[in-house]
């Protein structure tokens, strides 16, 4: 899960890294009050789960309280790449002498942790990687051995930073690696990591993605509460379903992530637009199916529903009974097309047969089912 900048800074601060004092606020009045407590000048920064805040006008320097009021008013409610700003971070402004970049993430090919450090911070690392790849010093860290101090020092020296801050930087990067591993982060990125005019190395921005799977050893609830999730995703999440909201009109239910992805693909391939990705997992029993149908049914954009189930250990009869029972429990407003295959598919289809109508149809293959369900969504099918 992606953290807001201010949450990322609090996360870094808990690993003893130097961040600026600041306050998270949601109103102009609170922004002004925070700035009065912190003392101007301050930065007024939009908190959104996307990049490009600066270019969109979401990060402003405020020399005095009037400027804080003006900027906070302008930034709250701003649309940044489809994200509406609801939270601001008011932070004591820093004097910047130099801007660096640093990050740790998993290199999936090398199966080791990859650290990237560059003296060219403040711009997108993708741009640096493209234009001046030599400006990025990379280090691969074996997860078993961890990051040793001398290894970290070599890495810092290789990045050609200001030699006066080598010791401070080594210290900070060791802490950053600790935050990355002990904090179960998928990504930690500081851009820019700055050297202040007084020569102190300091965290000026924070991009942190935490691993939701590590919830058994960290309290992730505060971060979970601020995840951007549309209503459909929140409802599915509450039912324990794997759901990703899309923007089309064909509701998709499948068992297994691969099959669900494949179903989304085939709907697109025949010219339809899927409303979602929904994986109900292996079982496909009545409870899970009813929950999935409720989520899809509450999506006003859905015009037709594609249920794509492959029976493995769960037999076709069980799947069919699950669908029939779920339909009795949920009042479905869109027509359904079912493709049922795999273990005892014939027996399952026979059970569904008496329930078939212009509201509930079957098709023998994924492709035929997709064509039928897309025609229904567009009002051209029957």
């Amino acid at each position: 899960m992606d953290l807001f900048e201010y949450q990322g800074k609090q996360f870094f601060a808990s690993y003893d890294m130097p961040v600026s004092p600041g306050e998270a606020v949601t109103t102009v009045e609170d922004a002004v009050a925070a700035a009065e407590r912190l003392g101007t000048p301050v930065m007024v920064k939009a908190q959104v789960h996307t990049g490009g805040r600066g270019k969109a006008g979401g990060v402003k320097f405020a020399a005095d309280i009037d400027a804080v009021r003006t900027h906070a008013t302008n930034i709250l409610g701003l649309d940044i790449r489809g994200h509406i700003v609801e939270n601001l971070w008011i932070e004591k402004a820093s004097d910047i002498a130099e801007e660096y970049y640093v990050s740790f993430t998993l290199d999936r090919s090398a199966k080791k942790h990859l650290g990237m450090l560059s003296a060219e911070g403040g711009v997108e690392i993708e741009t640096v990687a493209e234009e001046t790849p030599d400006a990025i010093a990379k280090i691969w860290v074996d997860p078993v051995n961890g990051l040793a101090e001398d290894q970290c020092r070599q890495w810092v020296l290789a990045a050609n930073l200001n030699p006066d801050v080598t010791d401070q930087t080594v210290d900070l990067l060791l802490k950053l690696y600790g935050a990355y591993t002990d904090g179960d982060a998928d990504l930690v990125e500081i851009n820019p990591l700055i050297v202040t005019s007084e020569g102190r190395v300091h965290v000026l921005d924070a991009k942190v993605t935490l691993d939701g799977n590590a919830g058994f050893r960290h309290d992730l609830d505060p971060f979970d509460a601020t995840q951007p999730r549309d209503e459909r995703e929140a409802a599915a999440h509450a039912k324990g379903l794997q759901y990703v909201g899309l923007e089309g009109s064909v509701g998709v239910i499948a068992n297994g992530a691969g099959l669900a992805m494949s179903t989304v693909d085939v709907v697109n391939q025949v010219g339809g637009r899927p409303a979602n990705f929904l994986d109900i997992g292996g079982g496909a029993n009545a409870d899970v199916m009813a929950g999935a149908l409720e989520v899809i049914n509450n999506d006003a954009d859905v015009q037709s529903i594609f249920i794509n189930i492959f029976g493995g250990i769960t037999r076709g009869e069980e799947v069919a009974n699950g669908i029939i029972e779920a339909m009795n429990r949920v009042d479905i407003s869109s027509p359904i097309v079912i493709r049922l295959d795999g273990t005892n598919a014939d027996e399952g289809r026979a059970l569904l047969e008496p329930h078939l109508s212009d509201r509930l149809m079957m098709a023998p293959t994924m492709l035929e089912a997709a064509q039928k369900v897309v025609a229904l969504a567009e009002g051209t099918g029957s």
Partner: protein, 294 residues
Amino acid sequence: MSIFIDENTKVVYQGLTGSQGRYYGLLNRDYGTQVVAGTNPKKAGTDVEGIPIFATVADAVEATGANVSCVFIPAAGVRSAVLEAAEGGVDLVVVITEGVPMHDEAYFFNKLKADYPDVRLLGPNCPGLISPGKANIGITAGHIAKEGGPVGIVSRSGTLTYQALYELKQKDIGCTTCVGIGGDPVPGTSFIDCLAAFEEDPETEAVMMIGEIGGSAEEEAAEFIAANVSKPVVAYIAGLTAPPGKKMGHAGAIVSGGKGTAQAKMDALAAAGVRIGQSPSEAGDIMAEVVAAL
């Protein structure tokens, strides 16, 4: 022949006394797999329907000769379970559990590589593997697979693997071994490991590969195929129309920064001479053509 497991494989289930472990462990035994032991430090000396429970994998290996472990332990315990299995002396550790933290996966993958280089890890978050007619370890429905050959299957996705096995069986095509490598960021066994093993296996004459978006494992497999695989390979990649930045169910299935797209994977594989199906069924049809021409 088959790869990784066969009729002589003896399996110990870590977590056999739990509900999932018991359910699939017994199903695997019904299939004909030699399920020789389970572990649970608190229930050593008891049994699950005649399968003896030991305190540790080492005890189970010593008493039963188990050479493979299958892990059904909840995510929080997987890291220590994998290390226990490797230390206990098995050759293969199959981790079915999903939701294992990335840092745990990265740790035990590298720990095994350094300290137990001869131990193979499969998973986490995988359906396991089956050599039809010989052994079935994990959560695959054994009866949907036809035994024999000539096709070997390797896949990142569970249900699509079952689909592939089932379609091949419907076309009367057998499978030597079907390996589900799982959808997590640090899979213990890669496409390349499986392709290399299938290339060596005389009974496997063609390989079906099922990939999905995210990472670069398929691109790396394409390079390996071009240089090292003489047998025909047919592939299907899921997620062609997946939106960037969204995890599609699996932790590893995400297109980020324009990388890991299905199209790039298909292009790389096609350039390596792999025939690509646009849907799982089309991949099955292509494989039927390939098998007919063998």
